[in-house]
């Protein structure tokens, strides 16, 4: 088995707004249905709450922080699922059941296996 990170890219919203309650239910249904393949998952606060952190020069340099997301895009990273699948075909089949797949996009990235 291999691990994949399925990153959800959707509208940059606050998922705890009541207007998104129905959408969140759909995500929960996916999580229950595919529980056997999901190792971890998270929903993220909107990018307006993000902070970009950099250290100047090298390790130990000044910590510089900036408000906002790393990159300004129409669809933002709004959550992830760490999934386990036999191969890419299986991972794609699981990713296609995440509601973000039709509300935005899901990026499926293979996780580098520990040696």
């Amino acid at each position: 088995m291999a691990q994949y990170l399925a990153l959800t890219y959707t509208a940059d919203v606050n998922w705890f707004d009541p207007e998104h309650a129905e959408a969140l239910t759909e995500y929960r249904q996916f999580a229950i249905q595919d529980a056997g393949s999901i190792l971890a998952s998270a929903v993220l606060h909107p990018t307006s709450t993000a902070t970009v952190v950099r250290v100047t020069g090298a390790r130990g340099g000044d910590v510089v922080t900036a408000d906002g997301p790393y990159a300004e895009t129409k669809e933002a990273l709004t959550g992830y699922y760490l999934i386990e699948a036999a191969d890419l075909d299986e991972a794609i089949a699981i990713a296609a059941r995440i509601p973000a797949a039709w509300d935005g996009a899901v990026e499926v990235r293979p996780v580098l296996a520990a040696k």
């Binding site: 291999a2 994949y4 036999a86 890419l88 580098l112």
Partner: protein, 411 residues
């Protein structure tokens, strides 16, 4: 001698591609399998001119490639081998070539891996040329109009993705098959298009992409005899191939469709193409995909005894369907030409208005304007078309037209 050498190289290449499929399954690593086949091919190319071609070149190459694979695995510290089943590795030490049905399944697996829709079309095309057609990096770079280091880099990235993302070496299930066959057909068609309509440059490449695409199309048709789409793609390619002898004259100049000597069209290819198209349409019960529609257009041309006697309204109807199912500037441009033939030059020019300009667009518009006697505008349009990319033969053709129109407008 060059002829003998070319035939030898061709045998080694075609047999090598066939052997590769089985080797990928046994070793489980595309790169090692490719290297092993390439090393075996080099030995063959070195020894065969001296020793003569062995009685069974396939068996010879199979055994040589397996030995090379074992060498490479040893060199790499058997890291890959440890992850493999013992049974697979026993196959490596066998001395007989695998039976045909095994090769058949292996070839399908390799095709579906190399043409996986998770890979970009460009990556799929390049990888297909490497693994399914057995071309060298230099040949691939030449036919895809790029340089060797860039091509090597792209292929390495593609193989890395196949390995890291675990793109499976497997024939898709019946439920997945239609979508996946589409990705494969897209590769075959892109190969043919790249060979049929090279965007620029003289034809100085030692590989014929059209031949490669047709060979791959025939293989795919043989491997998936019940699928409608491979039959449609092959039909389209054969019907286009059939006109090839008439498309260029002895001087290497372009001969437009209306000037072509139709007796030089290949009747056998036309018959094969039409047969495949009929089969494909029966399988989809009349619901046409873009390949079927393009093949139907080519079949319609092949039926017409002359350019004038072509059923242009039918061709317009087919282009209308094509522009609905798969809209593209190229299809819209060809449709405008058909409209001009069916309903007059004015209607054709009007249809052009809705198509985004390109060098081909300017060239088509120029010919329609000239036909309407609007020479100054035609000259302007054909000059604009020469600013874009086109093959040398195509450029010469347009320059001849321009010279003729200049004479016409002067009188």
């Amino acid at each position: 001698m060059p002829d003998v050498h070319d035939r030898l190289a061709e045998t080694v290449r075609v047999e090598g591609a066939r052997i590769l499929a089985t080797l990928v399954r046994t070793i489980g690593d595309l790169q090692i399998a490719e290297d092993a086949v390439q090393e075996a091919a080099l030995v063959a190319m070195r020894d065969w001119p001296r020793t003569g071609v062995p009685e069974q070149p396939r068996a010879w190459l199979t055994v040589a490639a397996r030995r090379k694979a074992i060498d490479i695995l040893r060199r790499e510290g058997l890291r890959a081998a440890k992850e493999r089943d013992g049974a697979d590795l026993i196959e490596l030490t066998a001395t007989d070539p695998p039976p045909d049905h095994v090769v058949r399944d292996d070839q399908l697996r390799l095709i579906f891996t190399c043409c996986h829709p998770a890979l970009s079309l460009e990556a799929r095309v390049a990888l297909a040329l490497r693994t399914l057609c057995g071309l060298t990096m230099a040949q691939i770079a030449a036919v895809l109009l790029t340089n060797e280091p860039a091509m090597a880099k792209r292929l390495t990235r593609t193989r890395q993705k196949i390995a890291a993302a675990r793109i499976p070496y497997r024939v898709p299930s019946a439920a997945q098959l239609p979508g996946r066959v589409g990705a494969v057909c897209g590769v075959v068609h892109a190969l043919y298009t790249a060979g049929h309509a090279p965007r620029s440059g003289e034809e100085a490449v030692d590989v014929d992409l059209c031949d490669e695409a047709v060979r791959l199309g025939r293989l795919l048709r043989r491997l998936l005899p019940d699928e409608p789409m491979p039959a449609a793609v092959l039909a389209l390619m054969l019907l286009t191939e059939a006109r090839r002898p008439a498309r260029v004259d002895r001087a290497g100049d372009v001969v437009p469709l209306f000037d072509q000597d139709r007796s030089r069209w290949d009747a056998a290819l036309i018959a094969q193409g039409r047969g495949l198209l009929d089969f494909s349409l029966r399988r989809t019960e009349g619901i046409a995909d873009p390949y079927q529609l393009q093949a139907a257009i080519a079949a319609e041309h092949s039926r017409a005894p002359s350019y004038r006697a072509t059923d242009w309204p039918e061709i317009v109807r087919l282009y209308d369907l094509l522009c609905t199912v798969a809209p593209s500037p190229a299809a819209a441009l060809s449709r405008a030409v058909a409209v001009a033939e069916a309903s007059g030059t004015g209607a054709g020019l009007a249809a052009l208005e809705a198509v985004p300009p390109s060098e081909r667009w300017h060239a088509v518009r120029a010919e329609l304007l000239a036909r309407a006697g609007r020479y100054p505008e035609a000259i302007e349009a054909v000059t604009a078309s020469l600013d874009g990319e086109a093959t040398e033969a195509e450029r010469r053709y347009r320059q001849r037209l321009r010279a003729r129109w200049m004479r016409e407008s002067a009188t």
